[in-house]
């Protein structure tokens, strides 16, 4: 895989659906569980103790990288992957705001039909 620039700044309005979708996989959640400690891991470290091949792990990391939950950092010749919680936090804030809008709309509906 070519070493493209993996350090683009996080876009302000990243589409959310792909993030949800990227999280919908057991292996990727396990990878995130490891990475969420905050420490970057190399692919070898992530493959150790796993039944999956290096290639399979790489593929999953790419999916997470594409939605910017995980980013690739270079330490000399070695690539390491680290967790970026920001997109998930943004997604949670987004759902919270939609939820609040519904609370407000429904309380208006309540006074509307009960009056």
């Amino acid at each position: 895989m070519s070493p493209k620039s993996h350090s683009r700044p996080v876009a302000k309005r990243q589409p959310r659906a792909p993030i949800f979708a990227a999280l919908g996989d057991e292996t990727r959640l396990l990878l995130l569980a490891k990475l969420s400690g905050g420490q970057p891991y190399s692919i070898s470290q992530l493959t150790a103790g796993s039944k999956l091949t290096r290639q399979a792990i790489t593929k999953h990391l790419r999916v997470l990288e594409r939605v910017r939950i995980v980013r690739c950092v270079r330490a000399g010749r070695e690539r390491r992957f680290e967790f970026d919680p920001q997109p998930i936090e943004e997604m949670k804030r987004y759902l919270d705001s939609v939820s609040q809008q519904w609370d407000q709309a429904l309380s208006r509906l309540k006074s509307f039909v009960e009056d």
Binding site: A21, L23, D25, E89, L95, S99, F112
Partner: protein, 150 residues
Amino acid sequence: MNNCIEKKIELKAPLSRVWRALTDYREFGQWFRVKVDGPFVPGEISRGQVTYPGYEHLQWEVVVQKMEPERLFSFTWHPYAVDPEKDYSKETPTLVEFGLEKIANGTLLVVTESGFDKIPSDRRPEAFRMNDGGWTEQMKNIENYVTQKS
């Protein structure tokens, strides 16, 4: 965190009253704060102008899905599309369902909004497919990870 929003509210009004407030476009517009152009018809687009103070510049658009009298009203839309510069039509819409149920002193209204996890099929390679079920659980896991970290 969940990929579906669900709200339950008990309304001290009969089914027929709640149904009208939901499906008569003028009544809907009053509490939802949107001036809808015309009646809701299943399968058709409804457009209008937001009347919520501060957001009057926004267009409102839904596709009405189901209208089962006094039972279910549903539409798809782009949830709270508040940026007029942005083209929301490329995002997958979510499904909003209003389910009605008669209860002792009125009506139980259950609102769900789902589909936050959907992505267009042309961008859905095998790797992106979600495994069945357990989604809510997984989202909780993720949330735990995140909160542990912060």
